[in-house]
Amino acid sequence: MKQSNEKVVYTTCASHCGGTCVLKCYVKAGVLTRIETDDGKEAQLRACAKGRAYRQRVYHPDRLLFPMKRVGKRGEGKFERITWDEALDTVAGELIRVRDTYGPASILYLWRAADMHQINNSNPFHKLLTLAGGYTGLWGIASFQGGISASEAQYGTRTTDNARDDLLNSRLIILWGWNPANTITGTNTSWYLAQAREAGSRVIAVDPRHTDTAAIFADEWIPIRPGTDAAMLIAMAYVMIDKNLQDRAFLDRYTIGFEKFKDSVLGLKDGEAKTPSWAEQITGVPASTIENLAVEYVTTKPAALMTGIAPGRTAYGEQYHRAAMTLAAMTGNVGIHGGSAGARAWESSQWYPFKMKFPRSRTSKGVHKADLPDFILKGKAGGYPADPKLAVILNTNYANQDLNTNKVVQGLMALEFIVVQEQFMTATAKFADILFPTTTFLERNDIDQGVGTAFYGYVNKVIEPLGECKSHLEIARELAVRMGIADFGDESEDELLRQEVAGTEIPDYEEFKTKGIYRIKLDEPYVAFKKQIEDPDNNPFPTPSGKIEIYSSKWATCNNPKLPPVPTYIETWESRNDPLSAKYPLQLITTHFKRRVHAQFDNVPWLRELEEQAILINSIDAQVRGINKGDKVKVFNARGMVIITAAVTERILPGVVDMPEGAWSEQDENGVDWGGNPNALTRNQPSPIGSYPFNTCLVEVEKL
């Protein structure tokens, strides 16, 4: 298919979707002309619609091509072009000024993950700012902080997931708030689900929505109210205990604290037995359905409870994760083929058996990102560790994606200086004083890794950087020079990548670079905790007790009634019973939209035209409000208002509405958002362990 003068470059797309997919790029005269995907042996690592649309992203007319400085008021989005010299001098000058005037703790480094890469990620700036004297860290992983913390409490590690091809060994797969057909979470995940189903696995989906995953792969859909998942799981534990079906040998051998959990479930502490009827009131799931699922899960082996991370993004989301892991133990499905530890249906960096150490977020230090506006506005007077003055922002569309947009904006407006590194004029870029234009992954080199599958991906530079765009590494290095930092290091991108590969499983760097993929050969699908289960004496769990802590000693020391040591259902704020529900009776969830990756790709024409951003509302709720399909509606609560199209459907639980996250804000002069961004409505209150409750929010919907 190659034309003359056309070369082929393999690279991997590791967007923030958990896919690491092959893009076979055709380049003619330095221009990317077409894209294919993996054309090797099965299992091919095929790209999704977003990866296939990358040509329109990289060459988008709105790409930021040169540095800019703000003219006019912050947030207006008015900029003028400047040279790199002026941009870098200004930023270096401000970093030094703020550090020397107020101290390094007044510097904020606000980053998230964007592309999941080894070199061009948050590390170059972390290194720069650390060498320059430090900064106040911000923590809290929006995706799954609750899941991580719960996992670390119960298993002592966040590395808990079996490989995706192990699903072929499951006789029963429970998809709990998990929608890989839309969210990807590992290349080929949906394909393995399809194959498992076709080979005879039974699949059950528990979700407020009849998602594409539930629709296509599940034999049964169990609709559940958002924020109540822990109640259903705990009631399932009740059923297992009541019928004496739990795996007592497993619990005795590998866990501690089951008796304390059992007491709680039976209601010995609070007088309320956590029966299916108790849970029915809370969840809306019929008691018989809860009982049947419990019996099915405990009697079908092996069974994989795939714990989606969306239910963890609720006011007490960590309890859902603790309860799910506990059921995995009660059913004896930890550490076996076809089972699942039930922690998080997501596995990213540091995942065994990779020898390469991938970057992971520095945990639990500094200020929680959801508290950032408060931190900026109150500082030390509010009990925070510093008075923030300056923010370096990259790899995140913070002003679009974080809870409670209006609060976010207040915080950003109060800083003295903001520098943003971006590809487009996003909601966040608009708040910059200086804008650094940066490259896409097609314009630089890097390494990434498979999620849920054992392979490394090479990111090959396909085309030269557009305009004056620079990579993360280049920008940080040039700032280091201007800030007089001598030991930042001057290794090239290639040298750094060769260093990464040395000492790993990858035998030949050049071959890895050319092919774009290195698959780690395993004799069988990887199973987490296999050693801990097969040889527990020599392989304790990395917890204080060496066992799975159904009663978490760590959480017990917190002495926080909202962070109990055993899995407990705690009613969320803004639940159906909240007095607020009289005014705002609908539960809003903010799911992932299949034609985007969070806020990325929202501006790509081939993708935009596939589906319109809309709020999903059940026909019953729509009818009483006089809303028909395609009507414009206003969605509001005390925190804000969004105008958006209504998509009337049968595929969502009545009482629940879904406004997919990631749509680009378009605020009018009254602060009303016309872009369909749900964060105008969400509340910036983290859970006790630091979860982001994107899925705990009450709203009302009215016809416009």
């Binding site: 298919m1 077409r34 894209i35 294919e36 995907t37 054309d39 095929r46 790209a47 999704c48 619609a49 296939r52 649309a53 040509r55 329109q56 057909a181 839309n182 290349t187 080929n188 949906s190 394909w191 399809a194 076709e198 009849h210 594409d212 995953t213 629709a215 296509i216 859909w221 609709p223 299949k594 034609r595 024409p605 081939w606 993708l607 935009r608 035209e609 596939l610 059940n618 026909s619 019953i620 459907t649 049968e650 595929r651 969502i652 639980l653 009545p654």
Partner: protein, 185 residues
């Protein structure tokens, strides 16, 4: 003549749109009303007893294509060996000239037109160029669920049975669309 056709496994399709975007990229079709592939959602029932299936639609390279007969300048031809139906863009006089005769004739509304004035007809050509090089059509190669396949239609019928129906799809015997399904019940 060994008619080449599609196999679409409706039980696997999750409506991810990778096929649509891959096709637009490969054939350089801009965003706009013209798309050689359509994916439609078939929804039935009332909460909580709901059904969803996705349907893949493209040119089905019919055994007896009505578009071919309707074209006033014979711009549409059917391959004598492979049965692939193609439009000759040079011969096509543009939709406004002939009042979109092929589109009116096609029961599946396959012929596509861009936004330029008097647009030429465009549609799936089963990636003839790719097939000639031993490669699969771009949509087949793209599908992350492996829900699509292309081969001589006889092979599909031998393998999957004479399954010509699917949810949301109307099998029109008269035109004999070259597609076999595994429908989602």
């Amino acid at each position: 003549m060994e008619q080449i056709g599609f196999f679409f496994n409706q039980t696997r399709c999750t409506g991810c749109y990778a096929c649509i975007v891959a096709c637009k990229d490969w054939h350089d079709i801009p965003a706009g009303p013209a798309s050689w592939i359509k994916i439609s959602a078939v929804e039935k029932g009332k909460f909580p007893d709901v059904y969803l299936g996705y349907l893949f639609t493209t040119c089905f390279h019919c055994g007896d294509p009505l578009c071919l007969k309707a074209c006033p300048v014979q711009a549409i031809t059917k391959g004598l060996e492979d049965g692939i139906v193609v439009v000759n863009t040079d011969s096509c006089i543009g939709g406004e000239e002939c009042k979109f005769a092929c589109l009116k004739a096609c029961p599946y509304k396959v012929p596509q037109f861009g936004t330029e004035s008097n647009p030429k007809m465009q549609k799936c050509d089963l990636c003839k160029d790719r097939l000639a090089e031993g490669k699969m059509p771009i949509c087949i190669a793209a599908c992350p669920l492996r829900a699509l396949d292309v081969a001589p239609l006889d092979q599909f019928m031998a393998k999957y049975g004479n399954m010509r129906k699917a949810e949301g799809f109307k099998y029109i015997k008269r035109v004999n669309p070259s597609i076999v399904f595994r429908p989602k019940d």
